[in-house]
Structure formats: C-alpha cells, structure tokens
C-alpha cells in the first residue's frame, strides 16, 4: 500500500509498552482539539477529543492531555498493540462562521512485536 508520512517523525515502541505522541498547536483561540489515526490508504479515523475547559480526557486505552499555557497536546496509548501502528495527527478546530480543522505534522507510530 501507499506510504503516508514519508518525512514524518517516527515513534517505535515494543508491543505492550505505553506510547506518548506529542503535538504543538498554533492558535490560542482554539477551543476544541481532536486526535486522528490514519492507516495506510485510509482516511483519518477519530480517536478522542478534548475541549479547552478540560486538561485531561480518557477513553479506552487512550488519554489526551491538554496544556493551554504552552499550547501542547499529547496522546497516550496504553498497552500498545500492533494494530495501533499508523500515522497520528492532532487537529485544532478553528471556528470562524464554520469549523475548519488545522492539522499538526503527524507522527508515525511503529509497534514492534
């Protein structure tokens, strides 16, 4: 299949370990943030979101942390599995009579068995 993210940073983790993927955003006015997972040849898949009135949100095996002071997001994946291998993007939602998502650069996650 196609290779998405030829020049993106790569995080390699051992199966069963925890993964942390970091992201910086640009707009101080952004109040909604989303993490997406993109597998080769597919569209981005929603993982988890967080609103700016929160600093932490947990899902199934995933946790998102938001630090508005330094405009930083992180995605933590517990007990990483081979199926987690993909490109991960953070996106900030910018409202201006309609929503547009501004995506970060993306990180390739490789899970070693």
């Amino acid at each position: 299949g196609e290779s998405v993210g030829l020049h993106l940073p790569t995080l390699s983790v051992q199966e069963g370990d925890n993964s942390i993927i970091n992201c910086a955003y640009s707009n101080s006015a952004s109040d909604y943030f989303i993490w997406y997972k993109q597998e080769s040849g597919k569209g981005p898949q929603f993982i988890i979101d967080i609103r700016s009135n929160m600093d932490k949100r947990q899902g199934q095996r995933v946790t998102v942390l938001l630090n508005k002071t330094v405009k930083h997001l992180s995605l933590q994946i517990a007990a990483t599995q081979p199926g987690d291998s993909a490109v991960y993007f953070c996106a900030e939602n910018i409202w201006g009579y309609g929503n547009k998502l501004v995506f970060g650069a993306g990180t390739i996650l490789r899970v070693k068995s």
Binding site: L6, Y97, G98, N99, L101, F103, G106
Partner: protein, 114 residues
C-alpha cells in the same frame, strides 16, 4: 449506520482537465468539509458547506469549487488541473456545523494528475 462515503476511490487525469469528486455524509450529518492531503503531510482545509452554502474557505485558488445538494451530499470540482493537485482528497461530515462538532472522515479519493 453508514459512514462517510466518497467516489471514485482513484482517478487519473491529465494537466488542464477538470475533475469532480463526490461525497455522501454520515447518516444524520448535514455539514460537509473538504480537505486535500499531499503525500507525507497532514490534511489541508479547502472549504466547508452547510445548508448548501460555502461557509468557510481555506487558502485554495478559485479553481477549487464545490456544491452541496439538498440531501447534504457534496461535490468538489477542480478546474485546470495542475501536477501539484495530485493528492488524497478527503471529505468529512459533522452535525449541524456548530462550534466544536466532531468531523468524521471518509476514505478519500486518490487523484493523480499526469
């Protein structure tokens, strides 16, 4: 519950031609956004449609235009294709187009311009 669907999956065109890509939103959604994703990069916002009107537009030339139909489906048209238009074109849908509404993506259309 049907997700976002896009057609065609792949398309090959030559420079100067025109192309139309199609998108059907997720069931219950009425807002459609289009994104362009070049290889190795994150998606870039093209525009968003709600109630058959373009509400917000990214930094794309007028060669990129769109339409939304009464059934909420949408088309993206690109005229006078350039080699640089080769990319994965993604459609995303959301509900009501309100602030902080999650956008869900389709599988994309891979366009190759020769």
């Amino acid at each position: 519950d049907a997700g976002v669907t896009q057609s065609p999956t792949h398309l090959i065109k030559t420079r100067g031609q025109q192309v139309t890509l199609r998108c059907s939103p997720k069931s219950g959604h009425d807002t459609v956004s289009w994104y362009q994703q070049a290889l190795g990069q994150g998606p870039q916002f093209i525009f968003q449609y709600y109630e058959e009107e373009e509400r917000q537009r990214g930094n794309f030339p007028d060669r990129f235009s769109g339409h939304q139909f009464p059934n909420y489906s949408s088309e993206l048209n690109v005229n006078a294709l350039l080699l640089g238009d080769s990319a994965l074109y993604l459609c995303a849908s959301s509900d009501r187009g309100h602030r902080q509404e999650t956008q869900y993506f389709g599988p994309g259309t891979r366009l190759l311009v020769l």
